[in-house]
Amino acid sequence: MADRAEPLAALQGRINDAAFGGTTLMTVPFVAQVGLRVEPGSAAAGRVETALGLELPEVNRMSESGGRRAIWLAPDEWLVVAADGEERSLVALLEEAIAGEGSVVDLSANRTGLELAGPDARTVLATCCSLDFHPRAFGPGQCAQTLIHKAGVLVEQRGDDRYLLLVRPSFAAYVAEWLLDGMLGLKADAAA
């Protein structure tokens, strides 16, 4: 197939240059993303879990196994993420598992990823996101759909000080602008 466009290509240079004091921002390579809607606790949900080899996580959590992970979006909604190129097989697998009791939609192009990592990652987020990322309130394996100023994002904590933000492509530049600006301010603070 033809080449795919990176939604943040135009900002890539600035994203690369934003790093300071071990805190970095990166664009994330393409991944397969599939939207799953199924009644939690139903037989269909059970079949999905078997097919994926992982438990569908509870509220605000992510579960992961064999290179695939399911991210909780809503009481009957998850985003299933897998390696790039797997979207077709994943859709087929899930379609079969739900057997008409729910919905499976390929959303691989519907969101793009940004990863923010490092000692000041939390503070960068605090410049534009109202969630509490203090370790007492949010930790690895946790996720949330929330706002970066006026844009919706799905935030997932991938490890200590490591956050993945999945964003609709048309909002990606906007979200990046906020993160870059937060980093700019903190970089100046760090230098002082």
């Binding site: 919905s103 691989s108 192009a109 503070t123 492509p169 301010g185």
Partner: protein, 943 residues
């Protein structure tokens, strides 16, 4: 004032120069603008707002009614900065402007930041009460944020010589600070003002990050940072503020508040030569004592009370300071500049006034607890007669007021109460255990006597005895208001403007209220004071806007094809947050020329357009068809898989809400498209009905707007282009009909192709995952070259659809237009749908409703402005009855003339008639025609 080398918290060893009113002055690190001016003998800092009277610094904090300056120059000049808050540095520039500041004339690039923060306990104020509360809560395990607006912690303890545990209070402060700083779950913010308290613990703070530093040392850091704190518990420990007394010429430079005078000594090492103290309470005696201790010649304490008692008074006597009780300062004298040279003191029982020379008069009328943050969320207050001050009344969930802010005026009481409040707050957040004893009651220290309920000196001359010194309101102004029949303090405020100045009458409002009560013989507790409102301190627009400016103000949404549009010179149109290509000018073309060319290309050859912004909703489930039937006016459940149908939906009131094409992908699977602007609203609308009205329907909705990019290939030669792009796909009319869908590989990309037309021409809409949008676009453009393919924008799209009489939501509709008005009777199926009932209301059945029609200006070159109104006759007089308006108006390349769409009363029955558009400069005759003007038979859509 004079500087003592061994006093104050400034750095005596270093000094620097700064500029005030064009004069070069010196200051020490640690000086505020106010202290620096006093040290330089700048007694007159400016003139007052109405009477142009000379005014000087009154106190050492932000309640000062005069101490304002215009700071900085050019685009970074800031009006009305608090002289007691502003810290000076080398190169600092300011101008004395006590009112009516100047706004900069250009845009600035200063950085103002914001940050979100969360905690269990937020403590505002770091005096003895706040420090105690913060320590107790932190020790109990709570996440604590402690803020104070000063550079240093300690609050009132910095401005006095108190002892705590037999050591100087500042030692205790340092000790508590060290313990707090050692706790990783404690954040201490100094130079930070809590300025707004909202619901559920949303407290806003403003930190002055680099404001106290010279420009060269700011290094790209923010000047200020607003903190948006969400706290479980808020502890308000903001202390109390002193209020003045009212007497003739009480506004003279040199007349100050007593605690301010004391503060200037302890914080900045500043003292006058000769001091007189004038008070209604014990606390001011501390000023006499402390200044005497610093070697100042304290002439006298004038006390309005009869025979005051207590340890402070005793100590004052012991120091040999004369105390004149039952007496008052009845006037002041000044030099040529108006600066204080003497006060006139008289007994309250009458007698001959005595002049006493002095260069400073320290006044205290008592203390007002400061608890704005409690008032911001509609907290109550009550007058405490004993304290002669307002105290918070009632408690609000999650808010606790402590220390002087709660009317606890003794230091020991403040510490005790703060400690208990800190423990209780921690416990409320699930940390620690119940407090270990009772909190302290409101009131003075046991060794202090009661404050006198005293406002103005009896018999005072009215014109120059000021109640509100900032707004220049004297007793005479209040008299006048009260003489007019009004008696509510809010009316007094609004009549006199008392308390409406930039410091919001901190030193004036209580006195104004008491004068009002006394005038009418009312109980002050009933009369009260005028309403307090946020902000607790004024904050700049820029710092409240933070970084939400320009590109960060509102998202700019673009499709994946956008870079190509930019590279090819597109001019863009804002549609909601989206930027869409409006037209693609070639060479020196203006919009009209470009649009004529683009339209001609589509009608005669082939055009291409980026339609990716249309909303797309994936609708899945056994009941998907039934669900859509309930929302669209038409039937969707009868659609066959692989086919598409146009649909319109109404709001419950029957007015057109949105439209789009619905594709049936499988028995239980649809995709509904929406308008660009309507996408989010339609999904919300669908979810609302699905979740709350029909949760039993088996339907699942997913937004796929951004999953798919859409390129429309439009025009008689579209088939030929498609044949090149998708050799595998049979695009012949028989194989691929209008409103049919096919999965196909187009330009090597797996696509969903639909034959949908918004122009009346043969058209293919190719949908590919958004990431492939640009690749597809480029491939279409390349494949179309032999056929002269022409990219076109939204303007041409609008012309083409208008020629066909297709309406645009938001252009032909405005929330008052039903599907019937648009002539969509054929789309109203015989079944229930949301809004249907509304179409039966009497006003909807009137036959003179405005209906969508086409219009042709009789002069085929005359293009009407969109929005032009329509009337019945060529001759008219204003006001004239309007029968409709032009919703769309263009020049058509296909028809070689201008045309338009309009909503016209009873329009469909008037086809063929001539009506008029009365413009300011001409009246244009137009013929009413069918809305479908071009290709009425629909011959073109199959190519």
């Amino acid at each position: 004032m004079k500087r003592l080398d061994d006093r104050g918290r400034i750095d005596h060893d270093h000094s620097f120069e700064f500029t005030y009113d064009g004069r070069t002055l010196t200051a020490h690190p640690g000086d505020t603008l106010a202290s620096a001016l006093l040290a330089n003998g700048v007694d007159v800092i400016g003139t007052s707002v109405l009477m142009s009277r000379p005014r000087g610094v009154v106190t050492d904090n932000v309640t000062d009614p005069h101490a304002f300056a215009q700071v900085g120059t050019g685009s970074v000049t800031e009006p009305l900065m608090r002289m007691n808050e502003v810290e000076v540095f080398a190169g600092f520039e300011a101008e004395g402007r006590l009112h009516q500041g100047l706004l900069p004339t250009e845009r600035e690039s200063t950085r103002f930041e914001k940050r979100f923060a969360h905690c269990d306990v937020l403590v505002v104020g770091a005096g003895p009460a706040g420090l105690s509360a913060a320590l107790a809560a932190a020790d109990a395990g709570s996440r604590v944020i402690l803020v104070d607006d000063h550079p240093h912690l300690g609050g009132a303890l910095l401005g006095g010589e108190k002892l705590i545990d037999d050591k100087p209070a500042t030692r205790w402060v340092a000790d508590v600070e060290a313990r707090l700083r050692a706790n990783p779950d404690v954040t201490i913010l100094t130079r930070t003002t809590a300025f707004n308290n909202g619901d559920q613990g949303a407290v806003a703070l403003m930190e002055r990050v680099t404001e106290h530093l010279p420009e060269a040392k700011r290094d790209g850091r923010a000047l200020r940072r607003m903190w948006q704190v969400r706290t479980h518990e808020l502890v308000v420990a903001t202390g109390a503020t002193e209020r003045p007394l009212v007497f003739a010429d009480n506004d003279r430079p040199g007349v100050m508040l007593a605690a301010g005078v004391r503060g200037f000594l302890h914080r900045f090492g500043l003292v006058p030569e000769k001091l007189v103290v004038f008070t209604a309470c014990d606390d001011a005696y501390r000023t006499a004592i402390d200044l005497a201790g610093a070697g100042v010649d304290v002439q006298m304490v004038v006390d309005v009370r009869k025979d005051p008692q207590g340890s402070l008074i005793k100590r004052t006597r012991e120091l040999g300071i004369e105390i004149r009780d039952n007496a008052a300062v009845i006037g002041t004298d000044g030099d040529a500049d108006g600066v204080l040279t003497a006060v006139r003191v008289a007994s309250l029982d009458g007698g001959v006034p005595e002049a006493i020379a002095c260069d400073c008069l320290a006044v205290s009328g008592g203390w007002d607890p400061l608890f704005d943050l409690h008032l911001h969320v509609s907290g109550g207050s009550r007058w405490n007669r004993k304290l002669v001050g307002f105290v918070p009344d009632g408690s609000l969930p999650g808010i606790r007021v402590t220390g002087a802010a709660a009317g606890i005026f003794g230091t020991a009481g403040c510490r005790r109460d703060g400690h208990v409040v800190g423990l209780v707050a921690a416990e409320a957040t699930g940390h620690g255990t119940t407090a270990d004893g009772p909190a302290a009651p409101e009131g003075h220290d046991a060794n202090e006597g009661p404050t006198a309920d005293f406002v103005d000196v009896p018999g005072t001359e009215r014109i120059h005895a000021f109640v509100d010194q900032h707004r220049d309101v004297a007793l005479a102004g209040v008299d006048r208001a009260l003489g007019s029949g009004i008696h509510h303090v809010e009316h007094v405020k609004r009549y006199t403007l008392v308390g409406t100045g930039t410091e919001q009458g901190r030193t004036a409002k209580v006195n104004a209220g008491r004068l009002t009560a006394r005038h009418f013989g009312l109980d002050f507790a009933e009369v009260g004071i005028s309403n307090a409102r946020p902000l607790a301190q004024p904050m700049t627009f820029g710092s409240l806007a933070g970084r939400s400016l320009g590109v960060r103000f509102d998202p700019v949404r673009t499709t994946s094809i956008h870079p190509w549009h930019v590279a090819h010179g597109a001019i863009f149109e804002d549609v909601g947050q989206w930027k869409r290509p409006w037209f693609f000018p070639q060479g020196n073309e203006d919009m009209d020329a470009a649009v004529l060319r683009e339209c001609a290309a589509v009608r005669e050859g082939v055009g291409m357009m980026d339609a990716s912004t249309l909303g797309k909703i994936d609708v899945k489930g056994k009941d998907a068809g039934e669900f859509l039937d309930r929302l669209y006016t038409g039937v969707m459940s009868s659609l066959k898989p692989g086919r598409a149908r146009y649909g319109v939906m109404c709001k419950a009131d029957g007015m057109v809400m949105d439209d789009g094409v619905v594709l049936r992908l499988a028995d239980d699977h649809f995709m509904a498209t929406t308008t660009t602007g309507g996408a989010a609203g339609v999904l919300d609308w669908m979810e609302d009905f699905l979740q709350t009205e029909w949760p039993y329907l088996d339907v699942w909705l997913t937004s796929v707007t951004e999953q798919w990019a859409t390129v429309a290939v439009v025009g008689p030669k579209a088939r030929e282009v498609m044949a090149v792009l998708a050799p595998e796909l049979d695009v012949t009319q028989d194989a691929f009909k209008f409103m049919q869908l096919e999965d196909a590989v187009v330009a090597g990309i797996e696509s969903r192709v639909a034959r949908i037309s918004f122009s009346g021409e043969l058209a293919f809409e190719i949908n590919v995952p958004m990431t492939y949008g640009l690749a597809l676009w480029e491939a279409v453009f390349a494949a179309g070259q032999p056929f002269g393919i022409t990219p076109y924008g939204t303007e041409s799209m609008h012309v083409l659809r208008a020629e066909k009489g297709y309406f645009i939501v938001g252009q032909e509709t405005d929330g008052t237009v039903t599907p019937l008005d648009l002539g969509l009777d054929w789309m109203i199926a015989d079944k229930e749908f949301v809004g249907r009932r509304s179409l039966r209301r009497s006003d909807m059945l009137r036959d003179d409703r405005k209906q969508l029609v086409g219009i042709l200006p009789v002069d085929s070159k005359d293009r009407l402005p969109e929005g032009a109104q329509l009337i019945d006759s060529a001759e008219y007089e204003i006001p004239v009855s309007m029968i409709g308006h032009v919703t769309s108006s263009y020049e058509s390349s296909a028809m070689g003339r201008t045309f338009g769409l309009a909503l016209v009363r009873n329009g469909r029955n008037r086809i063929g008639e001539t009506i008029y558009a009365p413009l300011a400069d001409r009246t244009v005759a137009v013929e009413i025609v069918d809305a479908v003007i071009f290709d009425q038979e629909g011959a073109r859509r199959d190519g």
